[in-house]
């Protein structure tokens, strides 16, 4: 009896907890999950990948997309792309920051400044992009997701799958078609994408093979200069922007879980000892 009930409650929980995941778009095509270095219990960011992703972001994405919650200093913080403080200082100084207290209203950036927005206002952003608003990147990797068919989403709770957003972004960047399929009425100024809800996306295909040249440090293997590589790198960088503390969070989590399991074992032994000799 106890066993059946345990299973039942477990099922109730699993189903109940998973229900929100079901609420997403059903018509979206299947998105392939990628092998991210930051997935799972021992997931950490790959510093080189984050640096490459930052390069893609800076050279391509940042001309339209903001990242208003990111400060330059974040780029030098632990668990991130691992730039040195000097590098970040130099980088920040390359940007002009609006500051009413400065002479002339602008000054060179410092590490404490936020990442400057490419457009002064939302309306300017829309005007420059055919009416579409390029979303801010700060938490975008967590603001997107994907839906697994029943019953596979149940397993996500046990694997801690939290990479739906980056899987979607990666798929989106690779999901462009030169021409819309026959019968699809593509509005003027829009582009056809397999994964974008409604398929008509305002963003032109942003990345293509060979577009960006990665600098290769001595002794490192060369990284392919392909759309696939760029999109993976920039997705990883976006995950870092959304979850800059992911690595330390997971490291702490491992210690906490280890402690709890051991502690539970001790508690179980103590409880048994106290209850020994009591018929119950």
């Amino acid at each position: 009896m106890i066993k059946t009930k345990t299973i039942l409650v477990a099922l109730t929980l699993a189903l109940g907890l998973s229900a929100p995941a079901l609420a997403q778009d059903h018509s979206a095509p299947h998105i392939e999950k990628q092998n991210w270095s930051f997935a799972g219990i021992f997931g950490t960011y790959d510093q080189n990948q984050l640096q490459r992703g930052f390069q893609v972001f800076r050279e391509v994405c940042a001309s339209c997309h903001g990242a208003r919650l990111i400060s330059f200093r974040n780029l030098a913080e632990n668990g991130g792309p691992g730039f040195s403080e000097e590098q970040v200082k130099a980088l920040a100084a390359e940007y002009e920051v609006v500051d009413p207290t400065a002479e002339g209203g602008v000054r060179a950036g410092v590490p404490a400044d936020r990442w400057p927005s490419p457009f002064p206002s939302e309306q300017d952003a829309r005007d420059a992009n055919g009416g579409s608003l390029p979303p801010d990147f700060s938490v975008l990797a967590k603001a997107r997701g994907l839906t697994d068919p029943f019953p596979f989403w149940i397993f996500n709770y046990f694997t801690g799958y939290s990479e739906g957003g980056v899987d979607y972004i990666h798929a989106l960047l690779n999901g462009y078609h030169e021409e819309a399929p026959e019968g699809f009425d593509l509005p003027e100024g829009k582009y056809y994408n397999d994964y974008f809800p409604g398929h008509a996306i305002g963003m032109a295909p942003p990345l293509s093979d060979g577009q960006i040249t990665y600098e290769v440090a001595e002794g490192q293997t060369e990284v392919p200069l392909t759309l696939e590589q760029y999109s993976t790198d920039v997705s990883a960088f976006m995950m870092w922007m959304a979850e800059p503390g992911l690595v330390s969070r997971k490291e702490t989590g491992f210690k906490v879980l280890l402690f709890l399991v051991l502690f539970a074992g001790l508690m179980w032994a103590t409880k048994r000892r106290i209850w020994a000799g009591i018929e119950h």
Binding site: M1, T12, L17, A19, P20, Q24, G245, G253, E279
Partner: protein, 416 residues
């Protein structure tokens, strides 16, 4: 159970205190010596787990409130500020957000345990009703808390849920405006929800105190549902149940920590990482999972009944689903408490649990196609269980023979 006190002040100071404010006596009687049936299983540890959940929410919530800004222009970014810049902020925020789900997981287990073992039956009706009040207050608190990060689901959830009140005849519109502080969800809504979200947990804590008081008058029910007959049936709460409850709490913290550290956002909706925008409606507006069963009941009534339109009908059905819980002690009038000795109830209970899971599942589905029909079926069964099955079973069911006492049943099990 507090008539025969075993407390003897151990020192002059304790005696002095005891004559003025007998807190030590109270603690000895109610936290240590309190006679508790010896056969409680692990489903009974969820009461203590819930106290822990409430404590965790209050402590993390107070810290979050130190860094949060309840203003539509700043709320979203201030939550991100907590995650990014406040020391330990990501963990504290995740604990609070995951904590809400864990709270409800424990709450549902606690309620369903009570329903199976007949813990609502005499003399525990008040205890049960206080529990239902806690449940409703907790839903209100959680709903308002979900609005505070001011994401898309916060905003649209608030819009849909407050809109429910407009269905009330005559006063509906006024109530709606009072809740929102205006004609639409906006800054006044956010401010009053923040204020109430801070207030209600302390109201809940007060009702919890009454709930425990009402528990300590008749004492615990137990898996056999048979009353305590003698002191041979019971154990002092301490150390036996303090230890068992603590062990249960630590076990419960394992999945809790799993979500906090490895999937802090998996129980929420990605759309809530998009700042609230009154101009863009999300494709599907879904409340948090723990509100889904009742959301399904609300949406299931999509037809007019006589002069009652579908909107009011939905609200009545949802209200009635709570009323059903409140009056269940008088619907299920059978003398035998525990489902273990009720051969027919057992199966209907199982069906009810499955049906409830179905209601939860359907709440997350779009209201279209087969889902609307299933929602009606599940909603109907929810009410049939309370208003038909339970009263009929109490009359026609022939319960199995009960053990004469708890210790007899315990011994029987030990020798079997």
């Amino acid at each position: 159970m507090s008539e025969h006190s075993t407390y003897v002040p151990g020192s002059a100071a304790e005696k002095w205190l005891d004559e003025r404010l007998p807190v030590a006596r109270f603690a000895k009687e109610h936290l240590m010596d309190f006679p508790t049936p010896k056969n409680l299983n692990y489903w009974w540890t969820f009461g203590a787990i819930l106290v822990m959940c409430l404590g965790v929410q209050i402590v993390t919530g107070i810290i979050l409130a130190m860094h949060y800004t309840p203003n539509v222009a700043m709320a979203f970014d201030s939550v991100e500020h907590i995650r990014r810049n406040v020391n330990g902020g990501r963990i504290i925020q995740a604990t609070h957000a995951v904590g809400a789900s864990m709270f409800f997981a424990a709450l549902y287990i606690h309620i369903f345990r009570g329903m199976f073992y007949g813990s609502y039956k005499a003399p525990r009706e008040i205890l049960w009703i206080l529990g239902v009040i806690i449940f409703i207050l907790t839903m209100a608190t959680a709903f308002m808390g979900y609005v505070l990060p001011w994401g898309q689901m916060s905003f649209w959830g608030a819009t849909v849920i407050t809109n429910i009140f407009s269905a009330i005849p005559i006063v509906g519109e006024s109530v709606l405006q009072l809740l929102r502080g205006g004609f639409a969800v906006g800054n006044p809504t956010l401010n009053r929800f923040f204020s109430l979200h801070y207030l209600l947990p302390f109201v809940i804590a007060a009702v919890v105190a009454l709930h425990i008081w009402a528990l300590h008058v008749p004492g615990n029910n137990n898996p056999t549902g048979v009353d305590v007959k003698s002191s041979r049936d019971t154990l002092p709460f301490h150390p036996y149940y303090t230890m068992k409850d603590l062990y249960g709490m630590v076990l419960f913290m394992i999945p809790f920590a799993w979500f906090i550290f490895f999937a802090p956002d998996i129980l929420g909706h990605p759309d809530n990482y998009i700042q609230a925008n009154s101009q863009v409606t999300p494709a599907h507006i879904v409340p948090e999972w723990y509100l889904l069963p009742f959301y399904t009941i609300l949406r299931a009534i999509d037809f007019n009944v006589l002069f009652i339109n579908s909107q009011l009908g939905g609200v009545i059905a949802m209200g009635l689903s709570m009323v059903a819980l409140l009056v269940v002690p008088w619907l299920d009038t059978g003398r035998v408490r525990s489902g273990l000795f009720r051969p027919m109830f057992k199966w209907f209970y199982l069906l009810f649990v499955i049906n409830f899971i179905g209601l939860t599942y359907l709440g997350a589905q779009p209201a279209e196609g087969i889902y609307t029909l299933l929602a009606k079926v599940c909603t109907a069964y929810y009410f049939i269980h309370f208003f038909v099955v339970l009263p009929v079973l109490s009359r026609i069911e022939k319960p199995l023979p009960l053990p004469t006492s708890i210790s007899e049943s315990v011994l029987g099990k030990a020798h079997a």
